[in-house]
């Protein structure tokens, strides 16, 4: 009785409505992915379905014309690693410093970090092109240098993830306590602050990896080879293979997001 009443007065939709909404959204998201799967299984002009292409990809029987794709995957993974490193080395200490010593700069930092999300990639590239002229003279034109641009692209996502964690821990008191116990700044940073920012740092890193693996515009316009630009080329040669690799990279991104979810909700060490 009271339960019925509670339900009638609850602003949340009923169980059925919820499942219908979830189903509709699920179909909306699943349709293109399922269509891609269906596409990769098509038997070509003869009709019917075949898993031959998947077998080719997984048994490494792809022709030499696809070597470029493996190079591209290697490039993207390298870029992901360097981007995460740049983020951890530059953004994290800056955020901690601002949080502890210059709280009035927080708004400024937040604004700066959110800018990349509001600037279209193409505008960013127009600005970056001359900068890369300088970079290639100073640091060579290695693939990894693209990570400088990616370091900027991931700022908004990384900032949010880390700031949420910073706000949930009393970093100021913890670092003052550590200082009073004889710790220098490096020790405070690595023994006290970073362990308590573990979740935020992991989440920021995974998001950065996902962003880098999905990046096309900047790489393409700066004439670099990464996973997405290579996929486009492959697509022109053999759209079936391109679709398979697109599906695989999607799967990888899903797995990453799942890991983020696990890390975010995992009980703390020693919790009951």
């Amino acid at each position: 009785m009271t339960r019925d009443l509670a339900r009638r007065h609850s602003p949340a939709p009923g169980l059925l409505t919820r499942w219908v909404i979830l189903g509709l959204i699920g179909v909306l998201f699943a349709l293109p992915i399922l269509s891609m799967v269906e596409f990769t299984l098509r038997g070509g002009l003869e009709g019917g379905y075949t898993i031959d292409r998947w077998v080719t990809v997984f048994t490494g029987q792809l022709g030499p014309e696809y070597r470029q794709l493996w190079v591209a995957i290697g490039n993207s993974l390298l870029l992901a690693v360097v981007t995460v490193a740049i983020m951890l080395v530059l953004l994290v200490p800056t955020m901690i410093l601002v949080h502890l010593s210059f709280p009035r700069l927080r708004r400024v930092l937040e604004f700066v970090c959110l800018i990349p999300i509001s600037i279209p990639a193409i505008v960013l590239v127009v600005g970056l092109a001359p900068v890369y002229g300088v970079i290639s003279r100073a640091a060579g034109s290695g693939v990894w240098t693209l990570a400088f641009a990616y370091g900027i692209l991931v700022l908004p996502y990384a900032y949010r993830a880390i700031q949420a964690n910073l706000d949930s821990v009393d970093v100021k008191t913890l670092s003052e306590a550590a200082r009073s116990l004889g710790a220098n700044w490096l020790t405070v940073m690595f023994r006290v602050i970073v362990p308590n920012l573990r979740r935020g740092l992991l989440a920021a890193s995974f998001i950065a990896v996902a962003v880098v693996l999905g990046e096309f515009t900047v790489a393409s316009l700066l004439n670099r080879v990464n996973l997405q630009t290579a996929l486009l080329i492959v697509n022109k040669a053999d759209p079936y293979i391109a679709a398979i690799f697109a599906l695989l990279s999607l799967l990888f991104a899903f797995l990453l997001l799942l890991v983020i979810g696990r890390v975010g909700s995992a009980p703390r060490k020693g919790a009951q």
Partner: protein, 358 residues
């Protein structure tokens, strides 16, 4: 999680040789606001000094200046005669307990206590022994494997105390360590801090806004106001002979009554009383009269009972005088008064402090 806190066993821990602490002409400004306006304070080895005052009086700033967490603009901070004003916090050899819970959440209680020893590169075996001993001292010997979120507020502050003391610092600094706790735990831990401090003989500075707390634990209390120390003395001195009206008002409970100074004495409600503190010139004043310095009588000042509260071992009754002033009277529990009842009171004649009325 246990709701009761075990009573700490008497652990024989070697006493710490307390240091002398001296603040000389310490000035600290935040922008235009002078948080410390030339503070002078000298603390003897092993002494327990409380800095007492309303919020914003500079007591926490003084403690933070002593710890090095806040730099000072002028003046000297001496520990055992050495000026440490330019020495960073981690090299000052102090122990500190904070108002907010400050245990490292990713470490167990034992690891927390070991942290300071780790910083001093104490060997692992000795480190563990000393940490266990320190936890024993605060009655939490069996709680070493727990994390902060598995401990109650009082237990967390105990671990924080053990963590601050395990390195045998020269000075212990307590920044309102009890204010986040509920009343009963607060009194319990307060008394225990005092017991441990006495046993160890460590020089201690305790910041609080709670005058009862300060009077209960400290050897000497420094009452602060607007960045200066108004008065420093034993709890008895502060209570019985406050040197300023602010101290009289802030320390203990006082009734403010209109009076008139004539020839160095003050006449209040028909009684002539001795003046405490600086002599005042003739003229109208506000006198501060303690509730226990007023008694009920057959005749005397007429008043109407407003309310009466039972405080366990005594009772405090609020009266309204004929001139509408309110008056608190402290008396034995047996005497009961109903609101609206007309009674008579008189002053016992104890000396009072007063400020000129403008």
């Amino acid at each position: 999680m246990t709701s009761t806190i075990p009573i700490a066993p008497a652990v024989s821990v070697a006493p710490i040789s307390g240091a002398t602490v001296e603040l000389a002409g310490v000035v600290k400004s935040f922008g235009a606001h002078r948080a410390l306006n030339s503070i002078d304070l000298s603390i003897k080895p092993g002494e327990f000094v409380a800095l007492l005052g309303p919020s914003g009086c500079g007591k926490t700033t003084a403690l933070r200046a002593l710890s090095g967490l806040e730099g000072v603009d002028e003046g000297r901070i001496l520990i055992d005669g050495v000026d440490v004003a330019q020495v960073p916090t981690n090299k000052r050899d102090i122990g500190m307990v904070f108002q907010s819970y400050s245990l490292f959440p990713h470490m167990t209680a034992l690891e927390n206590v070991e942290f300071g020893l780790r910083m001093r590169r104490v060997a692992a075996a000795e480190r563990r022994d000393r940490a266990v001993e320190a936890l024993d001292m605060v009655g939490l010997g069996t709680f070493g494997e727990r994390f902060a979120h598995q401990l109650s507020g009082g237990q967390q502050q105990r671990v924080a105390l053990a963590r601050a003391l395990v390195t045998r610092p020269r000075v212990l600094l307590l920044d309102e360590p009890l204010s986040a706790l509920d009343a009963k735990v607060r009194v319990q831990l307060r008394d225990e801090i005092r017991r441990i401090q006495t046993e160890l003989g460590i020089t201690t500075v305790f910041v609080t806004h709670d005058q009862e707390e300060a009077l209960a634990v400290a050897d000497r209390v420094a009452v602060m106001r607007e960045g200066v120390i108004e008065q420093i003395g034993t709890p008895e001195q502060l209570y019985a002979s406050p040197s300023t009206a602010f101290v009289a008002d802030f320390v203990g409970l006082s009734n403010r009554l209109a009076g008139e100074v004539v020839g160095g004495k003050v006449s209040v409600q028909g009684s002539t009383l001795e003046l405490l503190g600086e002599p005042l010139g003739d003229g109208p004043v506000t006198a501060y009269v303690r509730p226990e310095d007023i008694v009920f009588a057959k005749t005397g000042i007429e008043a109407t009972v407003v309310s009466s509260s039972f405080l366990g071992s005594l009772r405090r009754t609020t009266l309204r005088l004929t001139d509408n002033a309110l008056l608190s009277v402290q008396h034995e529990v047996e005497a009961r008064f109903a609101p609206g009842e007309v009674v008579h009171v008189k002053l016992k004649g104890a000396p009072v402090s007063a400020v000129p009325r403008t």
